[in-house]
Symmetry: C2
Subunit: 146 residues, 2 copies
């Protein structure tokens, strides 16, 4: 019995195949090389890296703020109501993943989103989640200060 193959996932494999460079991994059973579960490994890796960064309240807020404005660390810290040092750490990770770009202006550093794909990804994500929230009234409430 076997149900993987490319029976499902559309061109997820193809698209990345066009992209060029990728890591090599011998497929254990079947499917295209560099592919597991019908999804290209590199796409999964990159997607996970980006999603992981967005999957944090503070970073998500920062990202959304940066969608429309170029802001400094202290401005962001003030906006999301977190200590500056912490925000800086988050920004460092976002920078490592190339989600944001920086520009120095005197002693302050202004952050922005320079990648259009990232911008669209965030816009679409928030949009879908808003619809999701609209369709389903609160499911999982239950206190838990955090």
């Amino acid at each position: 019995m076997n149900a993987s193959k490319q029976s499902g996932a559309p061109r997820l494999t193809r698209a990345a195949t066009v992209g060029g460079a990728r890591s090599e991994q011998p497929a254990a059973s079947l499917g295209a090389p560099g592919t597991v579960g019908g999804v290209d490994d590199d796409v999964v890796t990159l997607a996970v890296e980006v999603l992981r960064i967005l999957a944090d309240p503070t970073r998500l807020r920062i990202t959304v703020l940066l969608l429309t404005a170029e802001l400094s660390v202290s401005e962001l810290a003030d906006a999301v109501q977190r200590p500056v040092a912490g925000v800086s750490q988050h920004l460092a990770k976002m920078r490592l993943a190339h989600l944001v770009a920086t520009r120095r202006e005197g002693t302050t550093v202004r952050y922005r989103i320079d990648d259009e794909h990232i911008r669209q990804l965030v816009l679409d994500t928030t949009r879908h989640v808003e619809h999701l929230l609209f369709d389903r009234p609160a499911h999982h409430e239950m206190g838990g200060p955090r």
Copy 2:
């Protein structure tokens, strides 16, 4: 100095405000109530919950597989090349977050994505990431199997 307000983020606040029910939190400084950094709290909470789930290689692969087919646990386990028990655990979390729905068929359980918003979110995400990968050839390689 203050740079937050709604100077940036578009209707992220409005949209959810229409949605109705949400948690209550007194804004520390300013901005709409139930809002931090110009982004609605509930939208952030839900988004983070969903993103967290997608931000795992196995779960992302499973999700993509379920985009186009209704599969059983063992089929999924085989496809993503992971032990059945582990896949079941992942599916449990996805179920808790209402990302997937199940249907029993004898001894087997078939999983599927029943929410159209989730489907679109995943499709858009993978699409954007593919473009991302296409534009930028590998940035962060560096030895280290797995």
